[in-house]
Amino acid sequence: MLNQLIDIVIYILLAIGVFFNILAGIGLLRFPDVYTRLHAGTKCTTFGSIFLCGSVILYGLRMWILGNVDGSIWVIHTGIALVAILLTNPTGAHALARAAHRSGVKPVGAVIDELENKPTKKSANKMEAKK
């Protein structure tokens, strides 16, 4: 009985995770410029992978409690993968947004852009080189 309950919880977590991952794909196609696409592509995949990895961790935990040693490996290794995703994903998004802004991509339909008023040394050099 409890076994089937845990199964159902695992399936619910999997469904939530897959929903957010598909949402990331749709957002990637629908949004108009780089920054908004980064919103979709970073947040949704990170959040979805939390749920997917969580379901795998739950599966391994049940296996571990029932006496199979492989369950501990499932739990720990998936947890390490999850921590790595959580550390690296927003950093990559930040590096990408900064690179896009420095290479001259403007946000579409922006109300305000305060970063544009702050010319860095490199972008000033690039402006001169363009002239």
């Binding site: 990637l28 980064l38 992978s49 997917l52 990559g92 590096a95 290479s103 690039k126």
Partner: protein
């Protein structure tokens, strides 16, 4: 299809994840500028990590998770290299 059995439901999940990979790869093909393409690549990276873990679950063998950890650590380095190129400046 054995819906509450172990293997098949994970394969269904895997197929849905591939739908998401297809949408991201359309962005890689279409993207007007280079940053758009890298956004697609970054999304594919994360989804591939997750689908490797799910495939390991479907195959029922724990050794497959190691590959996913490798990707989780390393996929961000290629993003960093291309971002560094787009930023300008020397390596």
């Amino acid at each position: 299809m054995n819906f509450f059995g172990i293997p098949d439901i994970y394969l269904v999940i895997l197929g849905l994840l591939f739908l998401s990979i297809i949408m991201a790869i359309i962005r890689v093909i279409k993207g007007p500028t280079a940053p758009d393409r890298i956004v697609g690549l970054d999304t594919i990276n994360t989804i591939v990590i997750v689908s490797m873990i799910i495939f390991g679950l479907a195959a029922g063998s724990v050794i497959y998770v190691d590959v996913a950890i490798v990707y989780a650590f390393l996929s961000f380095i290629s993003t960093l290299f291309i971002a560094k190129y787009l930023e300008g400046g020397e390596f």
